[in-house]
Structure formats: structure tokens, C-alpha cells
């Protein structure tokens, strides 16, 4: 009798630990670190930004103007690829899609929650390098989330006295 009760208790305890642990893991932020999904076209930042040294802002045009950096409009791709490497199957895919007026459905890699309002422009204006948050993009064949992009990670910088950055909640949450 006694051992059966303690067995039940033990089983209950184990179940509780499993549920609590599972929930803690599931709800823990920052698990997207290292996320590097395959994109519909295997666009290489290593080739464009690294090898050819194209400035980030040639494509991500609104990063200085708005809170979004923006994935470039397809006409930006076509500026070069009307002439460059037109025989590549991927460029053919791109051209076909462009001519048909259909956008390429890129997979979002750096995805902040909808209740977080990050502003690219403010960070660029303060001279923060793209690589600080996005990693060495110029060496990435496929884009990967390097930083954890958690609130703790954001606040770590914001709290440094030398940056004089705001730490009010409504800076990012509203």
C-alpha cells in the first residue's frame, strides 16, 4: 500500500517536472538562435556582400529612413540581373517571377515578436554596425540568425552607460 502511494506520488512528481520543464523550454525565448532556413532562391550574401563588396544599403534601402530595413524590391535585383548571370536557373526563376509580377516569398529569419517595435533607423543613426546584430553576413552563404535577439540581449547594450540608450519599456513595447 505504502509503496504504491509513493509510486503514485513519484509518478505525479515526474509528470509535473516534465510538464513544467517542457513549458519552460517551450516558452523560453531565444531558441531561434542559429535559425537558417532554406530560401526559395538560395541567395548568397557571401557572394554579394562579401565577394563583390556591395554595400548593405544598396539593397536594404530603407534602413536609414524607417524602422524597417526592408528586403529589396525585385526591381533592385533586376538592376543587375537583367544582364548578369542570366543563364543561371535561379536567375531565370527570378526573372520569370519578376516578369509575371509575382514577388519571391522569402522566409523571414530575424523575426521579432509582434509586440516589439525595433527601429533600424535609430541604431544606424548611432553608428551601430549591421554585423553587431546580424553577424558576419558578408561571410554567410545562407542567412542565419546569429544573435539570440532576446530582450535580455537587447537590454544588455541599452544599459551600458556609454550608449545612453533608453530603457523605458515603451521604447520597444506599445
Amino acid at each position: 500500500m505504502k509503496s504504491a502511494t509513493s509510486l503514485k506520488l513519484l509518478a505525479g512528481f515526474v509528470a509535473l517536472v516534465l510538464v513544467a520543464g517542457g513549458a519552460t523550454f517551450a516558452l523560453s525565448p531565444g531558441k531561434n538562435q542559429g535559425y537558417a532556413p532554406a530560401q526559395p532562391i538560395p541567395f548568397s550574401h557571401q557572394r554579394h556582400a562579401g565577394q563583390f563588396n556591395i554595400p548593405c544599403m544598396y539593397c536594404h534601402t530603407t534602413v536609414e529612413k524607417s524602422r524597417h530595413a526592408s528586403v529589396p524590391a525585385m526591381n533592385v535585383c533586376m538592376n543587375c540581373h537583367r544582364l548578369v548571370k542570366t543563364e543561371s536557373p535561379y536567375i531565370k526563376q527570378l526573372t520569370e517571377s519578376y516578369d509575371a509580377g509575382k514577388p519571391i516569398p522569402w522566409i523571414k529569419v530575424h523575426d521579432l515578436p509582434d509586440f516589439t517595435f525595433f527601429n533600424h533607423k535609430r541604431h544606424i543613426a548611432r553608428g551601430v554596425q549591421c554585423q553587431t546584430c546580424h553577424g558576419d553576413v558578408q561571410n554567410m552563404e545562407r542567412i542565419k540568425q546569429v544573435a539570440p535577439l532576446t530582450m535580455g540581449w537587447c537590454v544588455n547594450c541599452h544599459r551600458q552607460p556609454e550608449y545612453n540608450a533608453p530603457t523605458s519599456c515603451d521604447t520597444c513595447h506599445r
Partner: protein
């Protein structure tokens, strides 16, 4: 602490006035029911709740992992001025009514998300009413027709088709009809649209354009015709008026051009120590309206008595105050002595003599108005004549009443046309009927027989955006675009040209009515025009461009018109300010006015609510859930009765009564409305739609079976009626059910005379409290707001402005009576004085952003915290929904998401496209409240940072402040001693609500000043 009680006793409803125990019990709980509580009317039992919880936890756990995967769709070709995350603004013109206010359309990534008044527009000057602002939701209405349809006559069944087949069939039908074509529209201030309709009808012999106006405005023009010989709607100069007498003209709420009027009116209601002056508003009205609520003197009357009362005021002016009477008017007026009129009207003679005294002192500087739907009784035309007579003898004509320099163009002149049209239809003379912008099957009196007449017309083509009551009687519907998808223009006043431009491509396969007319004109001259845009440009070139002087090249002129949205010829030429010659009043017009006899019957009057008006936008959930400024009731119409009459009938709030007239019967719940005449009943128009859509159909009751057609048009007021109790009960949902003042001095007020003697009048007692809390330190900005209770009219514009800006959901009627309405700003209405003649105060109430915020100290998870700029921030992602904060908030401004209001039936795609991407969409279980529009603060701060400067005073406008047509709200940095808010904070009229609690709010109010003295 000093005593804080004031002499005036305020109350929110009659049960509070009489200290009814049920009221006190109700006032104890902010949220009436919890989902755990079983209520008589409440079908959610505890077991249901557990099921709900189980389902939602399953949902929650399934959503945890992995992170949802999102796509980024880039532009294919990025438009030149499109920057992701930056709003573009386009100047355009509101299409909700003929007042045609100028608007700025805020678009994000190509979709309009908010409408604001255009500050450069000379009439509405940045303000926009609740209806105008909420029309953004009509654009995304899921119940709009998505393509042209054929309608099966008789059954009203609709069959989808395409534009080519629709055009082909309509052309066939029209070609077969050479004569007998009629075009029925509503009042319309667009000169180009009217010209196009004329061109279109030119191809048919004997075709007619019939204008029908359901809001009763045309009676103003008729009255002018009878009084002066010209049918015109004059421009009214409230700015130049010291005394305003309104007899059933709800000019601050629903009449003619309420935003323009409020802008002008409130200018003379700003009292300061340097200029302790304000205009005086006297109101005689048959239902309680926003205008009456703002009146310094208000007298409840029966609608049909307005004309006699006006003439008795004239009698006083002529006999006592020495005003000259033209022609034989003196003898006509002599029948209307105040004593006799007052007796037969059941009002006090004192009210009449006092009104005359006030008017007598302002010769040429006063204004007499009459004319909302509630004035349109059988005597409606007489009332117009009498009001014109008063303006003439007071010398106002030509000064405050401008009939020729820049009169209103919201004309709907030929009144008997609709009756003629219907008799022509019945006689089979009408072969083809085209209908745009009106819904006669819903709002014309049933006795006119529109439905029967429609069955005799060979071909009916409707341009309605939905299969409404009238459109289902047609053969075909060619759905019109929403105004935000269309080109167009308006000339609401002579010489004020407002341009409309599309801000989004048509969402559905719809087409502008004008473009439909062009396609239906193949073969004629109009058919050669490419589209309405070209037609509009060429007409502006020949007309507006020439009137504007044509200094620059037309291309540049057109570009500037598109940019500014407005060409103000009347302002440039000075016509708007110029006096016009006073006209000769035709005294024989007065002979129409008869002395009223007192009747035993009650007088039934239909009025327009600020929200729904005549019911055009009944499918707009924001408007359905917009509390009435006086009754605070949502989602219903009801019969308003005076407390005495309700008592005599042995009825209480919510009891259903049967109202019988000669025409028919209607059963409605009653609302006991303080300040109604004992012999008057008010019922709102615009309800009981059957074909409005999924939101508006079946809400409230329609009254078209009770209205009638008289000699001056549709009779909407003063209908003799009897009322009996049915014994049934009905639950009305009020947004001000659960709050009580508990005798605290939440409102502070004084009369103008008291204020002149002592600027602190009514506001002398302040709490002196020692605090234990450390003070917050502010190194930079500290945001604060000031609200002038004297200027605020209670129009509810800010409520919709806030709702649109901050993604505030609609909760539905049941949730409103459970106290779950979500508005972040509400306009509390308080009565004072006796229930027979109450005074009204409107108080906008929003998060006070307290220095010592009671909510902050009780949050167990720090979801509500103080920012370093004085904001009380609510962090949704941290909130776990304990609701401790709402319990501890003395202002009751925190709103809790009991359900996923923003995702369910209340917000269907594509309505979600109207949401502001700069504000989180809150989900279930989260507390929310006013943020002082923190997204706007940050936007301006960003701009200032880019330019390396500080934010300028007045640069940040919160959504409520921006929309306020009375300019009652100021916002800014109180740490800047030069700022407007800092100055207003030290104004002797300034006070905090519940300051004895030492919450130290960032919102200050200015005392309400009433101009009640007779000097």
C-alpha cells in the same frame, strides 16, 4: 485636507439622483460579471467556462513551439515614394455627407489606415466627426458587393456577373428606353458629379435628376424661398455671433456641417482671464441633443411648437425692446404673446422673455437657427420662416447669415420631386430608374409606396455598394467604389473646392458610379471621355482653374490641388468674410404660422444620433458601439421619455412601450431622459435596417411605417401619438452603467459672472496632501495633457479617433452591458440640477498617467510601469491579466480583454487591414488603456532627433487631440515652461480629478464655465 465637496449635486442617471439601492449595488463592481458568475441572462455557466479554458490552454500550448514561420513579400517594383514603415498622407475629401470635410488619408504600405481632418481646409480646419473618421472601416467592409450583380425581381436574389455582361445588359435596356429616365440621388455637393449626371441624362429626352434628402435639410432652403424668394442654404457665421438661438437645430451634432460649426462655435467659448467673454447659446429643443447639452439655457419643447415660440420671441423684441417690425408683421406677431404661447406649449414664459432679452443686446451679432430632422413637423416650414423673421428683425441677415457671398451648396431644393417621382413611377411614366447614394425603400415613409411603385418600373439600376433595401428591388447593381477609392470633388460652400483622390485601388471588383455612367453613354458625347478622372480634370480646367485666377500653368495648379486637397476661392477673394446685403423679408410668409393649441396626445419626434444619423453606415461596428453622447446607450434605438411621463405610465428604464400613431404602431424599450418635454417622445432614426449587412441588420427598429409625407416633405417630428405599457422588458446596453461619483467633486464648474469676479470660482478648494512617495525625476520631456471642459461639446469624435489609431476592438452589445466596452477614452456625461431641467457636463476620461499611479504599485509582474517621460506604460507582453490594476484605478480607465475581440466575428478580414501597424493588437487576457499615443510621441521624437533638436510645442498631437473639432485638448511637454500645457496647468481654472487621492495625474481639466447670467 480641506473640504472638497461642491454645492452642485451631479448624477449620471435617475436612479443615482434618487439614491436607488440597485444603482448603488451596481456601482460597486466595475466589470459587472465575471465569466464564473451565473447570471439570469448570462448563458455562460461555470462548466462552459472550464471547457473554454481547456480549449484555450490546448490552443496556447500548440502555439508555443516552434516559432511560427513568416514570409516577407517584397515589392516587385517599388513605388518611388513608398518607404516600408513610413506613412504617406494624401489630401482628399470625406464622402460621408454633403458637408464634404477635407481629410488627410494616412496610408501605410498602400492601404489607408486612418482619416484625419485636413488642417488646411477652411471649413473643418483639421477636425473630423465620428462618422467621417469611422468611414475607413466602411472601405474594408466585408459585406460590400464584390462584383456587379443581377437581381431577380420579386425575390431579391442576387446573381454575380462581370462588368462586360452588366454593361451589355444595361446598355440594351437603356437603348430601349428613350424617354422616362430618372436619376435619383441624395444631396450632393460635387459640381462635377452633378455636371456628369446632367451630361448623361442629356442623351435621353425628358430625363430628370431627382434629389432626395433623408436628413431634412432641404426644409432650410424651402424656408428661405418662402421668406426671401430664393432657395438657398446660407452660410452661418458662428464666429461673429454673441448670442445663438437654436430651435431644434442640432448644429454641434448632426445638422448641416457640424465640424465646421463646432470649430467656429468653440472659438467663442474659450474663456481666459485676459478675455473673460464667451458666446451664449440658447436652445429650445424637443429631444436632448449635443447642442442642447452645451446650451447655457435649454428649454424642452414639443417639436411642433417651435414656430410659435420663435414668433413670441419676436413679439417680445418688437413690443418690449423696440425692434422695428417690417410691413404688417406687427399685427401678425401680436397673436403670439409670451404668456399665451408659453401656456399652450407647456413651457415657462420666463424662458421666452429671457431669450428675447439676450438677443436684444446683440443686434447684428446673433444667430437664430432651426432645422434638424426633429424640427421637421407639419409646422417645420413655419418654424423656418419664423427663424428667418427673427434673423431679419435682429439685423443678422447679411452679417451672421450669409446668403450670397459663400452660401452652402449642400442643396436639395426640389422637395416635391420625390413625391412626383413616385406618382410617375406608379403611373408607369418612369421606364428606367437609376439610384445612387440613397435608400428610399428604407427611409421614405412606407405610405408613399416606393416598393410598389418600383415594381412598375421597367428597369432599375442601383449603384449601391451593397444589396441594401432599395438595391434588392432593382434589376442590376453596379457597386460604386468607396470614396477612398474614387476621384471626385465637392463644393460644400460657394468658392470652396475640395478635391477627392483615390488612396487605394478598388479592393473588390467595383467601379465608380461616374465611370459606370461613362460606360453606359457609348455613342453619345460623354461616351468619348476615357474615364471620370479625365472628365474631372477637364472640368476643373474650365471651371475651378478659371475661378481661382489661373496664375500658374494648369498642370502646376492641378498638382497643388492634389497636394493640398483644397482650392479656397472664397477665402482668397475675401468672400467668406464679406457682408452681403440684407434681404427684404416677405411678411406674408408669416401668415402660415398658427397659434398652437395644446393637445392631450404626446408628440413623437424622430431624431438623428451622432453615430448613425439616418442609418447609411449602419453596418459600421465602430458607429454601432459609439455611445450616444447623452443616453450613453449603444447598439439600439429606444423611446426617450421625460421622468414625469415615464412615471405616469408606470414605466421604468427598459420597459417596452407601445407607441401608436395614425399610421401605425411601434414597440420600443424606453430610456428615461431627463430634460425631455413631458409631452414629447424621441426615437432615433437609422435603426432597424434589414439589408445593411452582418453587423447592422436587425439592430434596433425602423420607423418608416410611422412617418408621413406633408406639404414640406417628409414629416419626421411632432407626430401625435399615444403610449401604453406592454409589460415586456428589454435590456439596453449603456456605456455608463457602472460608474458612480459617490458625491466626489469630479466636475468643477462656475458661471461666467462668478468667473469674472474670481477666476478660481468653483475651483477654490484643493487638497493639500503630504506624500510618502519619492518624486519621479524627469531629465528630458514629461508629457501632460489638458482638457477644457467648457470647450468640449461631447461630440464623440475623439472616441473614434482613438479607436482607429489604437486598434481598439468592438465587443458587441452583451459585452457592453457586462461592462467590457474597450474605448480608451470615454466621454462621461453628468447631469446636475433637477431631472426636469438638467444641466449637462461632458468629461472626456482617459488614463490620467498619474505620478503616483495606484495601478503601478499593485501589478505583481511589473506590466504597468512609469516611464522616464511621465507615461504610465502598459506592457502587454508582460501582463498576465490579474486585473489588480483595474481594481485599483480610481478613474476606471483600464480595459480588460475578456476575449480575443480583435480576432473574432467583430473584426473580419478585410477589416483587419484598417489596423495601425504601429500599435500591438492585444489578445485575450491582457489589460490595456490609453498610452498618450506613445507611437506618435516616438514618431515625432525620432524626427526631432534626426534634425538634432528637441520636440517643439504642439508638434505631437495625440489622436484625440487631433480629431477634436472644438480644440478642447492640449498636449505637450510640461517640463518646458513655455509650453501650452505648462501654461494651462497654472491656469486658475485648472484642476485634477480626485486630487485628494494624491495620484497627481498628468491630465488636468479646466473648469466648466456657463454663460447663464442675464446682464
Amino acid at each position: 485636507m480641506e473640504s472638497n465637496t461642491t454645492d452642485t449635486k451631479y448624477w449620471t442617471k435617475l436612479s443615482e439622483f434618487s439614491s436607488d439601492p440597485t444603482f448603488i449595488q451596481k456601482a460597486q463592481g466595475e466589470f459587472v460579471t465575471s465569466p464564473l458568475q451565473k447570471e439570469s441572462n448570462d448563458s455562460t455557466s461555470r462548466r462552459d467556462f472550464m471547457k473554454l479554458m481547456a480549449a484555450s490552454s490546448a490552443l496556447a500550448s500548440s502555439a508555443c513551439f516552434p516559432q511560427p514561420f513568416e514570409k516577407i513579400m517584397p515589392y516587385v517594383n517599388q513605388p518611388a515614394d513608398a518607404v516600408n514603415g513610413k506613412a504617406n498622407y494624401y489630401a482628399s475629401t470625406c464622402g460621408e455627407c454633403a458637408a464634404a470635410c477635407g481629410i488627410l488619408v494616412k496610408t501605410r504600405e498602400g492601404r489607408p489606415i486612418k482619416l484625419e481632418g485636413n488642417p488646411d481646409h477652411p471649413l473643418n480646419r483639421g477636425g473630423l466627426c465620428a462618422v467621417g473618421q469611422s468611414s475607413i472601416l466602411n472601405l474594408y467592409d466585408p459585406d460590400r458587393l464584390r462584383n456587379p450583380v443581377f437581381v431577380v425581381r420579386g425575390s431579391g436574389k442576387i446573381e454575380a456577373t462581370d462588368w462586360d455582361s452588366a454593361d451589355k445588359k444595361a446598355l440594351e435596356k437603356l437603348k430601349a428606353t428613350k424617354s422616362g429616365v430618372r436619376f435619383l440621388t441624395g444631396p450632393n455637393s460635387s459640381p462635377t458629379r452633378n455636371a456628369l449626371i446632367n451630361d448623361f441624362l442629356g442623351a435621353f429626352s425628358g430625363a430628370k435628376h431627382v434629389v432626395y434628402d433623408s436628413s431634412g435639410v432641404s426644409i432650410v432652403a424651402q424656408g428661405q424661398q418662402v421668406s426671401y424668394g430664393t432657395a438657398v442654404i446660407p452660410r452661418l457665421r458662428f464666429e461673429d455671433s454673441e448670442v445663438i438661438l437654436s430651435i431644434d437645430a442640432d448644429f454641434l451634432g448632426t445638422w448641416l456641417s457640424p465640424v465646421e460649426f463646432t470649430k467656429q462655435f468653440s472659438k467663442n467659448r474659450k474663456v481666459s482671464e485676459s478675455s473673460p467673454k464667451m458666446s451664449k447659446l440658447i436652445c429650445f429643443e424637443s429631444v436632448m441633443t449635443v447642442t442642447g447639452a452645451n446650451a447655457d439655457e435649454r428649454v424642452a419643447i414639443r417639436s411642433e411648437h417651435g414656430a410659435a415660440i420663435a414668433l413670441s420671441i419676436a413679439h417680445e423684441l418688437i413690443t418690449k425692446h423696440g425692434f422695428s417690425a417690417p410691413g404688417d408683421s406687427k399685427s401678425i406677431v401680436s397673436k403670439f404673446s409670451p404668456a399665451s404661447v408659453a401656456e399652450s406649449c407647456g413651457i415657462s414664459a420666463d424662458a421666452i422673455t429671457k431669450a428675447a432679452q439676450s438677443l436684444a443686446k446683440s443686434r447684428g451679432k446673433s444667430l437664430v437657427l432651426a432645422g434638424s430632422t426633429q424640427s421637421v413637423s407639419q409646422n417645420g416650414l413655419s418654424l423656418q420662416v419664423a427663424a428667418n423673421f427673427l434673423n431679419s428683425i435682429l439685423g443678422n441677415d447679411g452679417l451672421t447669415v450669409d446668403s450670397s457671398q459663400s452660401p452652402s451648396q449642400q442643396t436639395a431644393l426640389s422637395v416635391d420631386d420625390i413625391a412626383t417621382l413616385i406618382s410617375d413611377m406608379k403611373a408607369g411614366k418612369v421606364k428606367a430608374l437609376l439610384i445612387h447614394g440613397v435608400n428610399p425603400a428604407y427611409d421614405l415613409p412606407d405610405s408613399l409606396g416606393f416598393k410598389e411603385a418600383a415594381s412598375k418600373v421597367d428597369f432599375i439600376l442601383s449603384f449601391s455598394d451593397r444589396a441594401d433595401e432599395t438595391a434588392v428591388l432593382a434589376d442590376m447593381i453596379m457597386p460604386d467604389n468607396h470614396p477612398l477609392e474614387s476621384w471626385g470633388d465637392a463644393e460644400p460652400q460657394k468658392g470652396v473646392f475640395s478635391l477627392r483622390q483615390p488612396t487605394i485601388r478598388p479592393i473588390y471588383s467595383t467601379r465608380a458610379m461616374e465611370d459606370s455612367l461613362i460606360s453606359l453613354s457609348k455613342g453619345s458625347k460623354l461616351g468619348s471621355v476615357a474615364n471620370y478622372h479625365d472628365y474631372l480634370v477637364s472640368r476643373w480646367q474650365t471651371s475651378v482653374y478659371r475661378q481661382a485666377g489661373g496664375v500658374v500653368a494648369f498642370d502646376l495648379f492641378w498638382e497643388s490641388a492634389l497636394r493640398d486637397g483644397i482650392i479656397d476661392v472664397a477665402g482668397k477673394s475675401g468672400a467668406r468674410k464679406r457682408m452681403s446685403p440684407s434681404r427684404v423679408f416677405k411678411t406674408q410668409a408669416l401668415s402660415q404660422v398658427s397659434v398652437p393649441n395644446s393637445s392631450e396626445k404626446l408628440s413623437l419626434t424622430f431624431y438623428q444620433k451622432v453615430s448613425l444619423g439616418t442609418g447609411r453606415s449602419a453596418n459600421n461596428p465602430w458607429l454601432q458601439e459609439l455611445p450616444d453622447p447623452l443616453t450613453r446607450i449603444v447598439w439600439d434605438n429606444y423611446a426617450t421619455l421625460s421622468p414625469k411621463t415615464a412615471k405616469a405610465l408606470n414605466t421604468k428604464e427598459g420597459d417596452v412601450v407601445r407607441i401608436s400613431t395614425d399610421k401605425g404602431v411601434i414597440e420600443l424599450p424606453i430610456h428615461v431622459q431627463p430634460g425631455m418635454h413631458d409631452k414629447s417622445i424621441g426615437v432615433a432614426l437609422g435603426y432597424g435596417r434589414t439589408h445593411a449587412g452582418s453587423v447592422g441588420s436587425g439592430v434596433g427598429k425602423s420607423v418608416s411605417h410611422l412617418t408621413d409625407f406633408g406639404k414640406a416633405g417628409v414629416v419626421l417630428a411632432g407626430i401625435p401619438a399615444t403610449v401604453t405599457k406592454t409589460g415586456a422588458k428589454y435590456r439596453l446596453a449603456s456605456a455608463q452603467e457602472n460608474q458612480s461619483l459617490e458625491g466626489r467633486p469630479i466636475i468643477r464648474e462656475a458661471t461666467l459672472g462668478e468667473y469674472k469676479k474670481n477666476p478660481k470660482a468653483g475651483n477654490e478648494d484643493h487638497a493639500h496632501i503630504v506624500t510618502l512617495w519619492p518624486k519621479h525625476e524627469y531629465k528630458g520631456y514629461r508629457w501632460a495633457m489638458n482638457i477644457d471642459l467648457t470647450a468640449c461639446t461631447g461630440c464623440q469624435g475623439c472616441v473614434i479617433g482613438c479607436q482607429s489609431e489604437n486598434n481598439i476592438p468592438v465587443v458587441g452589445k452583451e459585452n457592453v452591458w457586462r461592462g467590457r466596452i474597450m474605448h480608451w477614452i470615454r466621454i462621461d456625461r453628468y447631469y446636475s440640477g433637477s431631472p426636469d431641467r438638467p444641466q449637462v457636463v461632458h468629461q472626456p476620461m482617459l488614463c490620467q498617467h498619474c505620478e503616483n499611479a495606484p495601478c503601478e504599485t499593485v501589478c505583481p509582474v511589473l506590466a504597468t510601469v512609469h516611464s522616464d517621460e511621465g507615461l504610465n506604460s502598459q506592457i502587454y507582453n508582460r501582463c498576465v491579466g490579474t486585473r489588480y490594476c483595474a481594481n485599483n484605478c480610481p478613474y476606471k480607465v483600464r480595459r480588460f480583454n475578456w476575449f480575443d475581440f480583435n480576432y473574432g466575428d467583430q473584426m473580419k478580414y478585410p477589416q483587419t487591414l484598417a489596423q495601425n501597424p504601429e500599435v500591438s493588437v492585444r489578445s485575450r487576457g491582457v489589460m490595456e488603456k490609453c498610452t498618450f499615443c506613445v507611437q506618435r510621441i516616438q514618431d515625432v521624437k525620432n524626427t526631432a532627433k534626426d534634425e538634432g533638436r528637441l520636440v517643439k510645442d504642439g508638434e505631437i498631437q495625440t489622436a484625440c487631440q487631433q480629431s477634436c473639432p472644438a480644440d478642447a485638448i492640449s498636449f505637450g511637454n510640461i517640463n518646458d515652461t513655455e509650453s501650452q500645457v505648462a501654461e494651462l496647468k497654472h491656469n486658475p481654472r485648472s484642476f485634477h480629478v480626485l486630487e485628494e487621492l494624491n495620484t497627481q495625474p498628468s491630465v488636468t481639466y479646466l473648469t466648466k464655465i456657463r454663460n447663464v447670467e442675464h446682464v
